[in-house]
Symmetry: C6
Subunit: 269 residues, 6 copies
């Protein structure tokens, strides 16, 4: 694989990330042991951003794969393609990561079919190998390779959960929405609105997050707060901006919408 | 991609669209922030027309994809085809849109399989990238690219809904049938019938829309009113025209048909 | 596409069709507006024959597709085939119809998978386009193209129905078995039996049709009456002919068979 | 298609068939009208043999297809295969039959998927055409072509039945096991045992057939009687021969086996 | 097909088989009539060995196919493969057997999908043909060809059973574990342990077989006794050897394990 | 197959393995009889490590396959690939193992589809053959070949279990977590922490293992203890290290987390 191809997986500029606790050090220790890591937490709380930040900090290429229930092991490992010379093997993203020593981030891995999760087993124990069964080749992971997966505990149903034989291959780190002050910093920094507006948005989010499990499936994510700030910064009326970004995406239930609209009105009315 | 190919996605003449509220300005602000947008509302209330209008107004090419439950991620992203030189990659509509800076409109996205919805995630956050896993390439979206999806809240079942981790990537706008006067304008303009006939048709529609949830799954759309007007304009008896376009398409229930026929008779009897 | 290929879809001689009411004029008006049309009615009541007649009358080629639950969008739109030059695109019947300006008749469309029904959406609104996603091409329908579908309301289950967003794209026409005199004319004309025999067959059919929903799933179709007449005309005993064509195909329930046999005996005993 | 290929579908010598009633004449009349025919009756009562006999008598080639739930429309109609020149079309058995004017016999058609049954529709009405959608060709059936299907009413479940729109395309003939004397003739003729032994075997079969629905799913077929006769004729003890061919294939229930063994003992004990 | 290829299916040395009753003669008579045969009995009672023995005795090649629920008709009949000349047909094991006059043994045929079982129908009646539908060829079975299937009545669920129209194509033979003395002979002969040890092992097996249906799904097979004898013969402690081969493979239920361990202790304690 | 390819399956250095009882001798006896072996036990108790150790001790190459529910027989046996010369056969891992005389280890075989488990049958009885049905070839296993499978009894559901006809082809060995002293040795040796820390970690594991079935699906594996030791050895606070590796991977239940955290606090608080 050419250096140019490796370069495209490098994080070129420092992603904005505010540490909450000791997660950066903990991750570094895990990476130094090349321990596979599982990031747990709700939608939009910053798991993907954290991995990007760590990849930048550690200077490793990052290969992200959004898992889904139609993804097969071949989508991860690779497949034969027909070329003018006949079939040629093409590495999948996991194989590429194992070869070049990247951090491979499997986002929402529980969505994938079981063959996808089983395929990572030999990469996550003392073997650190990836058998390409279809090619009759066993590759040994680059010494810098590390596997990271994300997992949203709130989503898992009885039908769809990681097997214990998979879970017990990972150290696990919990994530949650950032503290109010940190989150307001993020919103202000990413949208250009002033601190007061950012704090109001965060307070609306806190109200909504308290409704999780009481009518809302999930609270308002930091991403949606950024959306709201962006619209307000472009001159959109805050009530309209919040309705579009903080209320309507979350729910179609009229009562919940009223409750959320009232919360918005409290701060921007 | 040649300019000719881009041209075919441009809207050549201004689509007829009457704004209801501040939706045009709101969309423009969202587009300026390249915020992904979700359009919510019932069948035939003008969501597709609105996107077309905005694409025309913003001078962007528009690529529309009608989603369905058999659509795979490859249908969106692209696939390898066999050529005389071997396999060649062919971009799917989403990839094309990301490359040329089009607005990509995924109509009724909830119908699609999960791999289709997950594939849009990296395009809808700060990364704005689309990994072509099968090709081992990561493309960065053109700076003018925007993603828009539609969503009919009335249709969603417990089994089939967007995941919160998808929903929270979009600002959302509600749509509904136009106001009576606006809708009559549309019908008259698009069919050539006079104002009085158009108003009668709209009043029939209002009666039917009140029956939604009371025997009808969905109210009469503006499109069906246009059909009725077209037949009347070609000399078809209004009762026959309304029966063919406003009553029979909607329901096979004899009582509901009687009720609707009676409503037609009130205005054209 | 060569003219020879178009010719094969032309109806070469006038199909025998007796109009029941104003359906011919109504259809002509709909065709003149290029309005998509949905034909509703029970099995064997003449929907397919009517479309053929209209195609002949309007001088348009007719492409009929018998839909089924294993049919994919590619079966309608087209697919890539491997040629000695590599892959070549081959139009499906819907694409062919859109290109040559044919009437495309999708028989029992509700049987098809959803991707088949969704694919017709852009052809059935103001766009009149058909995106060949796999080919990266958007074709505009020929100005003479029209889409017609059939739909048997008695068959639809809760699980399998057209979506409102599909239904509201069509004007709808109801069909039923022809009047007794008309049907006797048809039977006599198509089989060569005399009027008295034809009338008896029609009367047997009427008895059976009254049993629909009371032990029979469906009444005797005109087609079966023609079968009976053909056998009688070839010298088969009317009781044996009716048993073979009007009783045994319909039901295996001994009581229903006795009831139907008795009806036959009343007229031919 | 070469004559040699047609020849292989011809029945070379007269199949042994004893007519029960007017079924031969009735079938001939149906064939003369090219009416599609449905043969109804239990397993092993001679439906396949009857079709063979009629094909021999009418001098037509016969193409038999054993339908099954994994059979697709392509298995019947044909498909593209890759040749050194690229893809070449290969006719399926139904297409072959339509081209060469054979009788096409679809055995147990209800087992097939719906696309298989729908594909025969245009061959079974006034059109007598077979659209090869994938090839973009419509073939007209040879004037000698006829379609025959078999159907075992006892087998059909609620989930798996022919649709009325399929059933009403066929004249139907009932079949059952032959009369005792006829059946004994058949057994004696096909196995070489003497008349007395053959009659005993038939009487055992009659006892078993009375148990259908009372512990047996199906009675003893004529084929099994022939098996018994063959073993007896080769010197096997009649009790052992009947146990192997008339009892053990039918049931594993110990009580039913005792009952059947007792019946065998009555005649051969 | 070259003689070398046929040779590989020949049984080169006499398999060890001890006849229990008249099964050898009965099978020979059935083979002489080329009657299809179904072997019924529990796991590991010697059905496969019996077929091998008969193939050796009759001097016929034997082709064995282990059926499973993912096996398709093509796996049996054959398929087209891509060669440098284009597609070439490759016979499946059933086709090969029919061509070379082998005995074809379909092990646990009920596991296969229905298309697999239906495909054998024309080979199992007077036709003795195998239509290769995909190739447009009908092959006639070699005069020495015979079809044999196995069937474990204890396994069949309501969902998965052979259809009567399949069952009634076979003569059936019951198999069970051998008599105690015979089984001890087998164990001693195949493992080298002395008669006394072999008899103890058989007595343990008898105890376990009595538990079938009372906590065990299946009794101890002769194969497992041979495993036990082999370990003992290699110097393994009989208690450890029996635990490994007669107890742990059968069940994970602690109570059943205790019961079986106690039985072992009675003889080897 | 080249020697180089064989070499890659050889275990190059002695894996660290502490014997618990007579399992090494028992396995050697089984291997000497080439008896197929089934390893039973919970996740992470050392089954894979044991097979590796035995392969090293016996000097045999080891081919490991992680089974999963999407794995097909072809994934094990091999398939045809398209080459510039046409199709070429490529051995799967099982075929490779049978050819080169490797130990083939099918990890969690019960996850695989039935065709995968059935395909091993002829390799696990006196035949020791592997029919490559798709290639029309029967290969005889190398005299050093042995098959080993793993099986976690706690995982099997009613829906997914090995068939008795598969189970009875294997000698079975039970595995469990190592004794406390042994396990502490392992943790200390693999992580570099001192004996005291290792013993504390093992005691925490014992507490958690007692909760299996009382709120935990599975106990803490030795692997997780090693993870904990690695982090502690890198200077991470033991409480944080245990939380990340012993608590969060196992459960998301707040009460169970408290219980486990308390156990950690007892030893490291």
């Amino acid at each position: 694989m050419s250096d140019a191809k490796i370069e495209q997986y490098k994080i070129r500029q420092e992603p904005y990330y505010e540490a909450v606790a000791n997660e950066v050090e903990l991750y570094e220790a895990a990476y130094n042991a090349r321990m596979p890591v599982m990031l747990k937490g709700p939608t939009g709380c910053g798991k993907s951003r954290f991995v990007e930040y760590m990849a930048w900090k550690l200077g490793r290429p990052l290969i992200t794969v959004a898992c889904n229930e139609d993804m097969t092991a071949s989508d991860l490992v690779g497949r034969f393609l027909l070329d003018k010379e006949g079939t040629v093997w093409q590495d999948g993203p996991l194989t590429t990561a194992a070869r070049i020593g990247a951090i491979c981030y499997l986002d929402e891995v529980v969505e994938a079919r079981q063959d996808t999760t089983v395929v990572i087993h030999p990469l996550t124990d003392h073997r650190r190998t990836l058998p390409l069964d279809k090619k009759g080749e066993v590759i040994e992971a680059h010494e810098d390779f590390q596997l990271v997966i994300s997992y949203n505990p709130g989503y898992q149903s009885l039908m769809k959960d990681l097997k214990q034989s998979t879970k017990q291959r990972f150290g696990a780190m919990d994530f949650d929405y950032p503290e109010a002050a940190t989150e307001a910093n993020i919103v202000a920094r990413e949208t250009g609105v002033d601190k007061a507006v950012a704090e109001k948005l965060v307070q609306i989010a806190h109200r909504a997050r308290n409704l999780k499990g009481h009518g809302l499936d999930e609270g308002i994510s930091t991403r949606l707060l950024v959306y709201a700030g962006q619209l307000i910064n472009k001159g959109v009326d805050p009530l309209a901006a919040c309705s579009m970004t903080l209320v309507r995406p979350l729910t179609d239930d009229p009562d919940m919408r009223d409750t959320l609209d009232a919360a918005v009105g409290t701060y921007f009315g």
